[in-house]
Amino acid sequence: MADLLTVRHVHKSFAGLKAVQDISLDVHAGAVTAVIGPNGAGKTTLFNCITGVTKPDLAEITLTGRGGARSELGALDVERIARLGIARTFQQVRLFDSLSVIDNVVLGGFYRHAFGWWAAVGDRLIGGGRRHRALRAAAMNALERVALTRQAFELAGNLDHGNRRRAEIARALAADPLVLLLDEPAAGMNRVETDQLMALLRDLRCDGMGIVLIEHDMKLVMQVSDRIYVMDHGELLTSGAPDSVAVDPRVIEAYLGKAAASLC
């Protein structure tokens, strides 16, 4: 298991509130790394720091790219980080609602194609749209992985909740990322959809993708994760294999309150 992404000492405060304090974690290729903790623990802020959506106050985040090239992400902006091979989904799904699902997915992987304005407009104007068809065919593959081909030509804004999550995952997959960050992918999904998601995550892990998962659905987390990091109030409480985390009394207390600890 190669070290794909090493995250060291991330700090982030918002107006005095310490949202993330000294968080470090490792993401390995072909493994699922889960980040859990109560709402407001700083998990999404950590994602935002890794992907550049929020600038961390302090952090050393290093990505080992294809061919072993190492990049320090701290100083890069969102698009540069995305182009290095880090794709993500959002806690509140952020699709391009007025585009069709397939267009969403095409745009997710578009940066990988050297396809400028002249080429794009020219292909439409006089090229008969050949190159566009090729883009779309590639996007269909990503839609197949999440079983959403039937809805390819629907407007993203018209999808129901579970399908919106899947479309967003497909958009991220279209980028063929090294690291995939999923922020509560199962939220709002029913049991069947969650099971399909679990199967997809296992597939992706087999493909060698490094997956980071924020999730509240404990069943899902316990079944797919290789390593779990537990956050509370911006700090790392503990980390370890699912079995050891599940029985850690500190985790149960922080995550579920004293009351739950007494319930055990």
Binding site: N39, G40, G188, L256, G257, A259
Partner: protein, 233 residues
């Protein structure tokens, strides 16, 4: 006191509630638990009139309130403390509290204010500070205090423990319990299911827009699927 039947609400184009029915009786603490995205906040926002249901009915003390504007619902005594507290950051603590009793006479506001300060002495100390300068716990106290200024008959709390330290959470829950003992009916949405079930009389479990389980708090605590999904056991 509050009776909801077959509530369907769309959030944008997404159906967030798919026929939710629940009841709250006078003097109860009822909790609504479920994972993120299950529709808990949507339910509360529909009760408060911020979102309009496409189907179903909401009755408060026998009077239909679905479709009323938020201020009309609030004036009937259904007062919500929204998720994330929503303190008016540019107004002082005292002004925030004062606005809580917006529809009541100046005299009644004064008595309520004295009561809130007595209940939450922290707020009295900070009465002239801007709302935005308070700590998270203090802001939650202020949000609850502001709701109390309206003398609610039904107090709706959306994730009061969100982002707070365990010690503060204990205080907030203690406060909720005391308010209930003093005669305020409470509808509580919590992610912290264990704690919510600890203080509640009854509970409902919401999942992707449906109520999937309901019953006494003690019963839900023993329910296997609830234990696995929400108590992490």
């Amino acid at each position: 006191m509050l009776k909801i039947e077959g509530l369907v609400t769309y959030y944008g184009r997404v159906r967030a509630l798919a026929g939710v029915s629940l009841q709250v009786a006078r003097d109860e603490i009822v909790t609504l638990i479920g994972s993120n995205g299950a529709g808990k906040s949507t339910t509360l926002m529909t009760i408060s009139g911020v979102l309009k249901p496409t189907e179903g009915s909401i009755a408060f003390e026998g009077r239909p309130i679905a479709g009323l504007a938020p201020h009309e619902v609030a004036r009937l005594g259904v007062v919500q403390v929204p998720e994330g507290r929503h303190i008016l950051r540019g107004l002082t603590v005292a002004e925030n509290l004062d606005l809580g009793g917006f529809v009541r006479s100046a005299e009644k506001r004064r008595t309520s204010l004295a009561r809130v300060y007595e209940l939450l002495p922290r707020l009295a100390e900070r009465r002239d500070q801007l709302g935005g300068t308070l700590s998270g716990g203090e802001q939650q106290m202020l949000a609850i205090g502001r709701a109390l200024m309206a003398q609610p008959r039904l107090l709706i709390l959306d994730e009061p423990s969100l982002g707070l330290a365990p010690r503060i959470i204990e205080q907030i829950f203690e406060l909720i319990r005391n308010l209930n003992k003093a005669g305020t009916t409470i509808l509580l949405v919590e992610q912290n299911a264990a704690m919510a079930l600890e203080i509640a009389d009854r509970g409902y479990v919401l999942e992707t827009g449906y109520i999937v389980a309901e019953g006494s708090a003690a019963m839900l605590r023993q329910n296997d699927s609830v234990r696995r999904a929400y108590l992490g056991l």
